[in-house]
Symmetry: C2
């Protein structure tokens, strides 16, 4: 329905080059070039700055680009909405999330939805926290499952789930029997540490820093999977939310003991959607699934093996 030039324009801006865009569009570069020139003629101002190495959107280009992308996104959403009139949910759901959620929770959700709604496709990406705000606001994704950072604006929190950062260790570890632990208590044992601000949310990072416990990690990594392996082999204890390790905890292969530090005990994971945006039917469905799962996990997320504590709040 929409003019081809919208797609061309978007690609050119993304690739920063007319020829590259043409290639990714499987089209002759001359065609793309002409469409861009015609568009600039219509708008009346240059949309790109030409340099030897390619093109870069001008201020006007950025403005129009936002309109074009918004139009494309809204069109997809409208189509999905129309398709859902006939009962069949279809379209693409684009999710950004934490590595641990991507690895453990989302696959199951995708599997569930895939059987019931075969015409829904998924894009699931892990993302650097500094890009969270942009990724949501630009409309490149439908929603995020992320640590809640109050400093990020322009997003709405659809649901939030408290989770507890705790010490993760083997059941035969000396500290495995404790109900809670402080960082200082843990400091006497080998530690496996996430090195990245990335996987720890900013609040957690601050808490770790000011807790004063001089943790000297034996192992540092930014790979959840690597942590899983090393902890499972008894090489140390890790400080993480239990989400990425729910299966192991349930099977009794690992134990998750909540930390006593208040700032860490009250960490929150939330479903975030860009404000001022309508969600497509499949996106709404996916959010419901995520919500359901986190509610079911609720008990485990806060106090793995012990009694029930609390449920979702709004």
């Amino acid at each position: 329905m929409h003019a081809a030039v919208l797609r061309y324009f978007d690609h050119v801006a993304r690739q920063g080059s007319i020829r590259k865009a043409a290639e990714s569009l499987s089209i002759a570069s001359s065609a793309v070039n002409r469409q861009i020139l015609r568009l600039e003629d219509e708008i009346g101002v240059p949309l790109f700055e030409r340099s030897r190495s390619g093109v870069r959107p001008t201020a006007a280009g950025e403005l129009l680009l936002r309109h074009v992308r918004e139009t494309q996104n809204e069109f997809q959403r409208a189509r999905a909405e129309i398709a859902s009139l006939g009962g069949t949910v279809s379209g693409t759901v684009r999710i950004i999330s934490l590595e641990s959620v991507v690895a453990r929770v989302l696959p199951q959700i995708v599997a569930e939805m895939a059987t019931r709604h075969p015409r829904v496709s998924f894009t699931v990406l892990t993302i650097h926290p500094s890009e969270v705000a942009d990724a949501l606001r630009s409309g490149d994704s439908d929603f995020g499952v992320l640590f809640i950072d109050n400093r990020v604006s322009g997003v709405e929190i659809v649901a939030e789930f408290p989770t507890t950062v705790g010490a993760l260790m083997r059941p035969d570890h000396p500290l495995a029997g404790a109900r809670t632990l402080t960082l200082t208590e843990c400091a006497r044992h080998p530690v496996v540490m996430l090195n990245d601000r990335w996987l720890l949310d900013p609040i957690m990072a601050a808490e770790f820093a000011e807790s004063g416990a001089r943790l000297t990690p034996r192992i540092v990594s930014n790979s959840i999977e690597f942590m899983r392996q090393t902890i499972s082999r008894g090489l140390g204890i890790g400080f993480v939310s239990p989400i990425g390790f729910l299966d192991e905890i349930r099977r009794g292969e690992l134990v998750h003991v909540p930390l006593a530090e208040p700032g860490l005990a009250s960490s929150r994971i939330g479903i975030l959607v860009p404000r001022q945006r309508r969600l497509s039917p499949p996106a709404r469905l996916a959010i419901n699934h995520v919500q359901k799962h986190f509610n079911e996990f609720g008990r485990l997320l806060t106090a793995p093996d012990r009694g029930p504590k609390r449920r979702r709040r709004r």
Copy 2:
């Protein structure tokens, strides 16, 4: 930039007929017809119900229509935004308002803007209150200058100005010297009445009804201009907000005495914009002008000839 089919689709839906749409587009009906058929083919579902008397959008059609219109509106806004980068404000401002405001306030504003920003064009419409919500939400207009009705949702109040409904009369009228008046006091004299719910806002109408003052109007009309004439000739007193008569009041040709009834004394006129919508640069400018004017009129709006009372609030 955008495909022609968007315009065709919009016109067909508006006119309820392919041939009519074609005519209003100055194009052959066959061309329009084919574009619609092609579009339905692309979307995969019928967008119109065909009947002998024309076409009517299906549910899917309504959905797509909303996307199309939103796209067109946003495109206009984006163009205006781009134009304003170069310093020249351009585009169209679409305003809906009360008859009295349209007649007395907006002309001056349009005049002011026209000299400074010759490339801005205006659409100024009076509108029936029942259509206020739709007109704003559908994006057919940029903002409204209207009586505030709290029951209308989906709109945001950018600014509001208290105004007083009062009795309007000639200076030589027996009641002209009063500081305030009740409806009962006025009931003893001939009255010129707006017959329409239209120009009175709903709150005012209710207040009039329950005040119990059995007003027996000598003259009833729904024309502001007719009221002006009859009141000026001493045929009665009218109950109106002073906006439409500011010039006469300033020149001393008419006197506006506030009513004592509390519900009427606190009537509010507001600048309303649809929620969830970005305003085009010229629209923002126009709103600023309106705001400035109402602030200047502030004193007159509440207590025409007497001391200052209040200013804008937020």
